[in-house]
Symmetry: C2
Subunit: 390 residues, 2 copies
Amino acid sequence: MSEYIEHDKNRISVGIVAKQFYSFAEPPDEMVLESGAKLGPVTLAYETCGALNSDKSNVILILHALSGDSHVAGYYKEDDEKPGWWDVMVGPGKGIDTNRYFVICSNILGSCMGSSGPCTINPKTVLAYGLDFPVVTIGDMVKAQKALLDHLGIRKLLAVVGGSIGGMQVLEWCVRYPEMVSAAIPLATTVKHSALAIAFNEVARQAIMADPKWNHGDYYGGPKPDLGLAVARMIGHITYLSDESMRLKFGRRLQDKSDFSFNFNADFQVESYLRYQGKKFVDRFDANSFLYITKASDYYDLEKQHGEGSAFKAFAKTQAKFLVISFTSDWLYPTYQSRAIVQALKKNGRDVSFCEIEAEWGHDAFLLPNERLSALIRGFLERVFHESRK
Amino acid sequence: MSEYIEHDKNRISVGIVAKQFYSFAEPPDEMVLESGAKLGPVTLAYETCGALNSDKSNVILILHALSGDSHVAGYYKEDDEKPGWWDVMVGPGKGIDTNRYFVICSNILGSCMGSSGPCTINPKTVLAYGLDFPVVTIGDMVKAQKALLDHLGIRKLLAVVGGSIGGMQVLEWCVRYPEMVSAAIPLATTVKHSALAIAFNEVARQAIMADPKWNHGDYYGGPKPDLGLAVARMIGHITYLSDESMRLKFGRRLQDKSDFSFNFNADFQVESYLRYQGKKFVDRFDANSFLYITKASDYYDLEKQHGEGSAFKAFAKTQAKFLVISFTSDWLYPTYQSRAIVQALKKNGRDVSFCEIEAEWGHDAFLLPNERLSALIRGFLERVFHESRK
């Protein structure tokens, strides 16, 4: 996700939140992964906001994308500069109204934001896993989230909501635990990565693995592959924007100069922006987690698992009502991929609404303030909440 | 350009060609570059095919893109596996018919294919230039080509033809030496790089510069920044294709396996393809040349030099007839950028034809066999050749 979103510290938010942790699958009862490998113990970092109602019918699970975390809204401390990553959507009176709903957001398996991943300690070696961490899938991430919800005593989700890789988890939740999900909002996502999306991820992974400091994933305690990870992040940032959004945001404007430098420093604002985003990312993200999460997203393929075209049975058992949302300028998961989700849902007789939102900000659009998007989500949630209580 | 084009060794070609060299601008008469820096001596590698007619009225100058060279058509030796990079277009009876026209193709300044560039010897130090090579522009490349034509006694060009960065040189030729150019065919190009195109180039450059073996450009005689250059090339290859072409060419097919590896090897064919293209490229191309040529293309901006919008005067003095060609699936230089060229030409009262060719192969389409493209170019050249002899 981009980080140029400007937040107003004075506006309404859920206030102070705390990161929590849940560990399970203690050996010898490890979690069995899709690959067949076992992992345990498994820790998930998570946060909640809003209040759980008495019949536990107001739970919304929010699922994050590649570089996100459990910190979906609010602040950890009074003087935090930035709120959670979807504070524009989640809070009192917002699209996902924390006055009405109880929100849970869990950091995904494989990440580096508090959950088990390659940078956490392998109990067998008492060292960071590195590449000994098993390759996990979107299904594994969802299975771990289910364990967390069991622990929290949540048996029913009013809605699962998420964009991008978070949207894949939304779809997986509906398919894997159909009886638990009343409504689903997959944003800017797909049932399977296109060759183009795989290509971008692969080149980003190659950039990391080309950095000698990556050292086959074994760099914890030593110098990190910051240069490789920065390049990987820059590639990502290009895919999150669009031709149009870059033209509007940067055009050919020069950065702090009136003419070309005639050297290899950054001349253009877009170059400066990318360099800055790359540099900033390495302070907060782990290169191996980048490898694992992008691989999980490349592997995700509801058609491979459940049949494609007219045989598309992935959604046959789902019970959720769907609101599928795409953005006109998203070229990582273009609208035709959301339409494919909608068609597959309709073939299976599901209750599905679809909206393509006019937005010039590319794939990132779902993270940005957008009153139309907020209103759409607010209205859909009101309807399903009302219907679920009939 | 891509390298998956399959060539038929038995088909018609211009036959055996030889790379030639021309050196000029011997000190103290160095070439003055756009930056103000001086360069000399300057060497250009070039090749010719077809025969110059008696009044020298059948000369076509072909201008190559980023990774091209002077070897536009034919073979160096009988047992060469591959012909020149545009053999599908240039040869007897082809779109650019060497039975009728005398073709010249010069390697660009800054390249590593025989012309002066960062990997050639700096006479002052008797070592490779590295980053001491001055940053050159598209204008500098064209100015050097003009010196070559003077040397060859060519005063008039029937046509200048080129795609991508070669197309920028086409436009620059028409603007800089209007009296010399009768016709121009810019393919899949632009008057200025978009922020998106700059972004891709910048990330590719960062990948090279992140490789410790790059060593600030000083690696000649030591290990080369192959890993960084390979990543840069992979980024390029994504931009040369398109969502559609990658879906058709690769989809989600696995490479030599029936299921996922659950590790970080290449699972998908598109990953294998990119890794292969990256690896192959480093054997034939110089990382510093990649930096210099991409920078030249980012700097190119006819609007900055000549005014934009209704004040667009770049083409005011051009005398050439234009055939502007774009490709539907090219998202590096999308059709709207070719339309902008056409509009600017029309504003200046030029004779311009425009064709957007339906093609699923993205930016690379201009290099691939395409009978419609060949027929279009053949017909246009016949017309201008006929008119030039009236």
